[in-house]
């Protein structure tokens, strides 16, 4: 817990200063989580503000300050999912949906000078975003929380309010889909169709 229970209690009671303290403390963490879940840096701040806005208006529904963090994560998950659904309705394309060349051109147009390290990071983001686009928005968020954020099954249980076995099944299926897409992309890269895909298939049957 990054803040004292007392601060959460004060924020619940309507203390604006305590609420600001909560926001300032969790802002960076929430923005990082949102960034990994939505995969679009320019909208991260907007979604994070939406999370804290929802937090402000639902503070009175929090049963006890002990469950504050999972509850904040739940708000983050819901706001990110809403954003992803809205974006799908609008039919917007992500950077991951564009080809590498288009991304480079977009970067050049923006006048950005990328170091090698940044270019590598961008490549990783692009690859993982493309892999995660193989699963539904809700599975993308779930996988991100488990595999990238490193949340335990117990923490996920408290966020999603479902039993462990249901979560395991969802995670397993989502991971298999991503693994299959990964195998496919590796085949395309190496030009050896079928080798990695067969491995992906065997993991699916396992």
């Amino acid at each position: 817990m990054l803040v004292d229970f007392e601060v959460v209690r004060k924020a619940q009671a309507g203390d604006a200063g305590a609420f600001s303290e909560v926001v300032t403390t969790y802002r960076r963490r929430i923005m990082g989580t949102v960034a990994r879940m939505i995969g679009r840096p320019e909208d991260v701040e907007d979604v994070a503000q939406e999370v804290f806005l929802r937090l402000y208006y639902s503070m009175d529904q929090l049963r006890s300050p002990e469950v504050f963090e999972p509850w904040l994560y739940r708000l983050t998950v819901n706001a990110s999912l809403d954003y992803l659904r809205k974006r799908r309705r609008r039919g917007e394309s992500r950077m991951a949906d564009l080809s590498e060349q288009q991304v480079m051109m977009a970067d050049a147009a923006a006048g950005t000078r990328w170091s090698e390290d940044q270019a590598q990071k961008a490549k990783t983001r692009e690859t993982v975003d493309a892999l995660l686009s193989e699963v539904s928005e809700s599975d993308r968020v779930l996988l991100t929380l488990k595999e990238v954020e490193g949340l335990s099954l117990k923490e996920l249980q408290s966020i999603y309010d479902v039993n462990e076995s249901a979560l395991k099944v969802r995670l397993f299926r989502a991971r298999q889909r991503v693994l299959k897409a990964f195998a496919r992309s590796k085949d395309e890269q190496t030009g050896q169709p079928g080798k990695a895909r067969a491995a992906g298939r065997s993991s699916e049957n396992a």
């Binding site: 923005m31 503000q49 402000y56 990071k121 990238v148 693994l179 065997s202 993991s203």
Partner: protein, 121 residues
Amino acid sequence: MVRDQRELEQELDGLLAAYRGACEAPEASANFMPQLWARIDARQSSSWFLKRWTEGFVAAAAAACLMVFLLQVVPEDVHSAVYHSTYLEALAQEKTPENSILLDVAAVAYPDQYSADSATK
């Protein structure tokens, strides 16, 4: 094959771990807090308006319900000819020049019920 699969899974795990590092939390802009409070205030004022409107609507609906209830409950004037007579009988009790013309017409149509005598009663 099993080794390939394990390698693939490990590679994927490595890629996801690298993704965490690649997606660093962006720095919040200086306007983050002022914008957040502005959004909170905006929603507060719109919800205040909605609350006021809802309260007004509920009060008007309650008043209308009360009025309908009173109209149902308040006993009607049981002695009034309006509720116990036909239109013409009620008319006969009102002695105005227009009524007497109408009663004359009624007397022609129904001589047994509306004779000149009953009209003068």
